[in-house]
C-alpha cells in the first residue's frame, strides 16, 4: 500500500540518526565519513526551505492551470460540468503525485505533497459543486451532504497511508467534525460521534503501531496517535469552545455556531468534565510508558487546557491573576521534574533524563527562541479592560515586550 519501500525509508532514518550522532560527537568525523555511504537512499529528499518553496510553487501552478483550463475551454460551464472537471483535476493531480514518487523518487520534496493536497481539495470541491451546489437550504439535516466531508476524510486517509504524510491524517481528522452536523442537530450527539470516530482510529493505530517500535514508522504513528488523543480531548471539552484564548477559534469553526452549555444534558456535561480531568493523566501515562514525545506533549497540553477550562466548567468567575498561578504551576512542575531527574545517579531516573541528547533539541530551541522572542511580547499583552475605566492598558506593540504600550 505504501509507495515507498521499507528499506528506503529505514535507510533515510538511519542517515538522519547518523548525522545527529555525529553532530553530538557520539561518532568521530572519520567514523561518520566511513558510515555515511552505507546510508544512501534511492529517494530524493531536500531541506525544509526548498520543500516549502516547491510546495508553494506547485500549488500555484496547479491552481493557475486549473483556472486557465476553465477560462480557456469552459467559458460558462454549468455547475455539474465544473464539478466533473474538478474531479478530473483531482484524478490528474493524484496520478501526478504517484508518478512523482514512483518515477522521480521524490520524498517529502514539496512537489508530490502539493499535488496530493490539491487532489483532496479538487475532490471535495468537485463533489460539492457537482452534487450539491444547486440544492436549496433545508432546516432538516441532509445526510447525503455528508458525502463530501466523508470522501475528503477517506481520501485523506488514503493519502496518509500511501504517501505517509502526517498532515493528511490531520486533514482527515478535520473532516470528521463536519460529518455529524449532517446527521443530527444534537450537539451532544455530535460531540459523541466525533469522539467515537477518533477513539476508533486510536484503537486501530495503537494496535498497529506496536509492530513498529523503533523502526521508520514509529514517529509517524506516534504523531498520529498524539493527534487522535488531542482530537478526543477537544471533542470532550465543551468549554473550550467558549474560550477566547484560542485566537483562531478553530473548534468553533469545526462545529459552526458555538452551542451554549445549557444545550447539553447535565449528565453529559458533567460526564465530559470528569473526562477532561481523566484524559490528561491517561495520555501522560501512556506517553511516558511508551516514551512517546508527541503523546507526552499532547498530555501536557490537555492538562494545561483542563486547568484553564475548569473554572468556566464549574461556572466560577475567572480572575486576572489566574494566568499568574498557572505560570507559577508550570514553572514549578518543570523545575521539580528537572531537579528530580538531575539528582538521580547519572541524571537518569526510570529511563528519563533532563539532559539534552540530540542536536535536534538544540535546533528547535534556537528556532523557538528566535521566533518566540519576536512574537511573544505581542501575544501576551492583554486587551484593554473595560471594567476599570480609570486605567487604560492598550496596544502592546511587538517592541520591548509591550514597553510601547500605554496604560
Amino acid at each position: 500500500m505504501r509507495l515507498y519501500s521499507a528499506s528506503s525509508e529505514e535507510t533515510l532514518r538511519a542517515r538522519k540518526l547518523l548525522k545527529d550522532w555525529a553532530g553530538e560527537g557520539y561518532l568521530t568525523k572519520a567514523q561518520y565519513q566511513l558510515l555515511e555511504p552505507e546510508t544512501v537512499s534511492e529517494l530524493r529528499t531536500t531541506n525544509i526551505f526548498l520543500r516549502l518553496v516547491l510546495f508553494l510553487f506547485t500549488l500555484l501552478i496547479v491552481g493557475a492551470a486549473a483556472g486557465l483550463f476553465f477560462v480557456v475551454f469552459l467559458s460558462r460551464p454549468s455547475e455539474q460540468t465544473a464539478g466533473v472537471f474538478s474531479l478530473i483535476f483531482a484524478a490528474v493531480c493524484y496520478a501526478a503525485a504517484e508518478v512523482a514518487v514512483s518515477q522521480a523518487r521524490l520524498y517529502r520534496y514539496g512537489i508530490e505533497e502539493a499535488l496530493a493536497v490539491c487532489s483532496v481539495g479538487f475532490l471535495c470541491a468537485g463533489m460539492q459543486i457537482a452534487l450539491f451546489s444547486g440544492s436549496p437550504y433545508s432546516a432538516k439535516t441532509d445526510a447525503a451532504q455528508s458525502l463530501v466531508p466523508a470522501a475528503g476524510a477517506v481520501f485523506s486517509l488514503w493519502i496518509w497511508r500511501r504517501f505517509g504524510f502526517s498532515y493528511a491524517f490531520l486533514a482527515a481528522m478535520i473532516f470528521v467534525p463536519f460529518l455529524p452536523g449532517y446527521w443530527t442537530f444534537s450537539h451532544s450527539a455530535q460531540h459523541l460521534i466525533v469522539a467515537g470516530f477518533y477513539a476508533t482510529g486510536l484503537a486501530g493505530v495503537a494496535a498497529v503501531r506496536s509492530r513498529h517500535r523503533s523502526d521508520y514508522l514509529e514517529e509517524g504513528y506516534s504523531l498520529v496517535e498524539a493527534m487522535l488523543w488531542l482530537g478526543i480531548y477537544l471533542a470532550a471539552n465543551l468549554q473550550l469552545l467558549s474560550l477566547s484564548l484560542l485566537s483562531f477559534n478553530l473548534p468553533v469553526r469545526w462545529w459552526g455556531v458555538t452551542p451554549a452549555t445549557s444545550e447539553f444534558a447535565r449528565p453529559f456535561y458533567w460526564g465530559t468534565w470528569v473526562l477532561i480531568w481523566c484524559l490528561p493523566p491517561i495520555v501522560l501515562a501512556r506517553g511516558f510508558r511508551q516514551k512517546d514525545r508527541f503523546v507526552i506533549a499532547v498530555g501536557a497540553i490537555a492538562a494545561t487546557l483542563t486547568i484553564v477550562c475548569n473554572k468556566p466548567y464549574l461556572g466560577w468567575p475567572r480572575h486576572t491573576w489566574d494566568p499568574i498561578l498557572l505560570g507559577i504551576l508550570l514553572t514549578a512542575v518543570a523545575v521539580f521534574i528537572r531537579r528530580w531527574l538531575a539528582h538521580s545517579p547519572g541524571g537518569i531516573r526510570h529511563g528519563f533524563t533532563a539532559a539534552r541528547l540530540s542536536g535536534k533539541d538544540k535546533h528547535w530551541m534556537n528556532v523557538g527562541s528566535n521566533v518566540l522572542g519576536l512574537v511573544s511580547p505581542q501575544s501576551i499583552t492583554p486587551e484593554p479592560q473595560t471594567s476599570n475605566p480609570g486605567v487604560h492598558f492598550g496596544g502592546g506593540h511587538s517592541g520591548g515586550g509591550g514597553a510601547s504600550s500605554d496604560f
Binding site: 521499507a6 540518526l17 548525522k19 553532530g23 560527537g25 557520539y26 561518520y32 552505507e38 544512501v40 525544509i48 526551505f49 526548498l50 516547491l54 501552478i61 490528474v92 493531480c93 501526478a96 508518478v99 518515477q103 522521480a104 523503533s214 523502526d215 514525545r293 486576572t320 489566574d322 499568574i324 498557572l326 505560570g327 508550570l330 514553572t331 512542575v333 528537572r338 529511563g351 528519563f352 533524563t353 533532563a354 539532559a355 539534552r356 541528547l357 540530540s358 533539541d361 538544540k362 530551541m365 534556537n366 523557538g368 527562541s369 528566535n370 519576536l374 501576551i380 486605567v391 506593540h397 511587538s398 517592541g399 520591548g400 515586550g401 509591550g402 514597553a403 510601547s404 504600550s405 496604560f407
Partner: protein, 428 residues
C-alpha cells in the same frame, strides 16, 4: 577540547555519555567540531539535508503523459536524467535480518535491504567501525534509553514565564487603581531585582564565544526579568511621565538594555526582544504598519535593516557572539524584503524599488548559495517572484494572460529551484 566542541543548549545541560563510551569517543577528531558545524547549527538552517539525488532507471512514458497536463514534464524529465550525487552504487551491501536480538523491525517481504538501525549498529560493531561502547550507547539512544525530556521541560518553563507575565500585565492593567502605584511598583521592582540579581550572581565570566547557561532555568529567569522591565517601564512612563511622553526613548533604552543582556548572557530570547524593541523605536512595530503606501515606514525599515545588518556583520567579523549572526540576518532579510516589496507595489516611482528588490534578491541568493543556507535562497525566490510578478502583471486584467503567466513562470521557478537544489546536493 571536547568540552568546547560539544554543542550546548540554552540551559547548558548536556548529556554525558557513560565513562566507557566517553573513553571510546576520545578518539574524536577535533576538527569535526569546526566552525562550519557551529554556524550551521546556530543559523537553524537544515543545509546538511542538501538535495539528495540519484539517477533513477525509470522510464517516463506514463510519467510524461500525465504530468504534461500540469506542465511538469520538463521538470520530471530533467530530474530523472540528472546526474546523481549520492548514488548508492558504491555503498557496501548490507545483510538482511541481523536484528541483533532486539526483536524490532522484522524485514518484510519485498523489502530487500531492509535493515533496522539496530541491525546496522550491530553490523558496524562487528566490522569494527564503531566500538562496543559506542554500539551500546547508540543502541540505547535508538531505543530511547535514556529518554530526554530536555525540550519538553524547556517548553514548560517558557510557557510558565509567559503565562506569569501575561497574568501580571492583565492584573496590573485591571486593578492598578485599587492596588495603587506603590504596591505595583514594589512588586514589579522586587521581581526585577531578584531576576537580575540571580542572573548577575550566577553568570560565568563573559566570553565572546558561545557560552552555555550556568543553570537550566537561567535563560528563563533572564527572559522573565526582561519582560518585567518592559512592563515596569511602560507603567512608570504612563503613570509618571518619566520620559515626558517620549515612548521612543523608552523603546531605545529598552533595546539597548536587551542587547547588553543578550551579549552579556548569550541569550537569543533577549536578543530577539532587543531587535523587536529597536524595530519599535524605528517606528516599525507590526501593529502600526499601516500598509504598503506608507513611505515613511518603508524608509525606517530600510534604515533599520542596513543598521542592524552592518552592525551584525561587524560584530561577527570581530568574533563577538558570531552565532547571533543568523538571528540578525533572518530578521533583516524578511524586513528588508517586505519594505522593498511595499515600494514595488507603489503606483508610481516603483522602478528604483524594483531595482533594489532585484539587488536584494541577488544578494540573498548569493549569500544562501555561498553559505549553504537555503532560507535565504527561499527568501530570494518567494519575495523576488512576488515582486517580479507584480511588475509583469501591472495593468493586465486578462484572466487568461494572468493565469498563463502563473503557469509558465511557476514551472520555470520550479525547474530553477530544482536545479539550484541539485547544485547544493553536489557541493554538500
Amino acid at each position: 577540547m571536547h568540552e568546547t566542541c560539544l554543542p550546548h543548549g540554552p540551559s547548558g545541560t548536556q548529556y554525558q555519555p557513560p565513562l566507557a563510551c566517553a573513553a571510546a569517543l576520545g578518539c574524536r577528531v577535533s576538527s569535526f567540531c569546526c566552525s562550519d558545524l557551529w554556524l550551521s547549527r546556530t543559523l537553524f538552517i537544515d543545509e546538511l539535508g542538501g538535495d539528495q539525488w540519484r539517477s533513477p532507471k525509470a522510464e517516463f512514458s506514463i510519467a510524461s503523459s500525465l504530468t504534461h497536463l500540469l506542465g511538469y514534464s520538463y521538470f520530471l524529465s530533467a530530474a530523472s536524467l540528472s546526474e546523481c550525487t549520492m548514488s548508492n552504487s558504491w555503498a557496501e551491501p548490507v545483510a538482511l535480518g541481523s536484528d541483533a536480538g532486539y526483536g524490532h523491525g522484522v524485514p518484510r517481504p519485498g523489502n530487500e535491504g531492509f535493515m533496522t538501525i539496530f541491525a546496522r549498529l550491530e553490523q558496524w560493531k562487528q566490522q569494527s567501525k564503531i566500538s562496543p561502547e559506542q554500539h551500546a550507547h547508540l543502541a540505547g539512544l535508538s531505543r530511547g534509553e535514556p529518554f530526554s525530556l530536555f525540550l519538553e521541560l524547556n517548553v514548560l518553563l517558557y510557557a510558565g514565564v509567559l503565562a506569569f507575565v501575561a497574568g501580571l500585565g492583565w492584573t496590573v492593567s485591571t486593578w492598578s487603581a485599587q492596588l495603587g502605584d506603590l504596591l505595583i511598583l514594589t512588586v514589579l521592582s522586587t521581581i526585577l531585582a531578584v531576576c537580575f540579581w540571580y542572573c548577575f550572581s550566577r553568570a560565568s565570566a563573559w566570553s565572546p564565544a558561545e557560552t552555555s547557561a550556568p543553570s537550566p532555568i537561567f535563560d528563563y529567569v533572564l527572559y522573565l526579568g526582561s519582560l518585567i522591565w518592559s512592563l515596569e517601564l511602560a507603567y512608570l512612563e504612563t503613570r509618571f511621565h518619566v520620559l515626558s511622553g517620549r515612548l521612543d526613548f523608552d523603546l531605545l533604552a529598552t533595546a539597548v538594555l536587551f542587547f547588553f543582556l543578550a551579549y552579556r548572557f548569550d541569550n537569543r530570547f533577549v536578543l530577539s526582544l532587543g531587535l523587536s524593541s529597536l524595530a519599535g523605536w524605528f517606528g516599525l512595530t507590526i501593529s502600526r504598519w499601516s500598509g504598503p503606501q506608507d513611505a515613511a515606514y518603508r524608509q525606517y525599515a530600510i534604515v533599520y535593516c542596513v543598521l542592524v545588518g552592518v552592525v551584525a556583520a561587524i560584530l561577527q567579523r570581530r568574533g563577538l557572539k558570531p552565532h547571533f549572526l543568523g538571528t540578525y540576518l533572518n530578521v533583516v532579510a524578511n524586513l528588508l524584503f517586505w519594505a522593498l516589496l511595499s515600494g514595488v507595489f507603489n503606483r508610481e516611482g516603483y522602478g528604483l524599488w524594483f531595482l533594489a528588490l532585484l539587488i536584494a534578491c541577488a544578494a540573498s541568493l548569493a549569500w544562501g548559495l555561498r553559505r549553504r543556507q537555503f532560507a535565504f535562497v527561499a527568501y530570494a525566490s518567494v519575495y523576488g517572484y512576488v515582486g517580479v510578478s507584480s511588475m509583469f502583471l501591472r495593468g493586465i486584467s486578462d484572466a487568461t494572460a494572468i493565469l498563463g503567466y502563473f503557469v509558465v513562470t511557476g514551472v520555470a521557478m520550479l525547474v530553477l529551484l530544482v536545479q539550484i537544489g541539485r547544485r547544493f546536493g553536489r557541493s554538500a
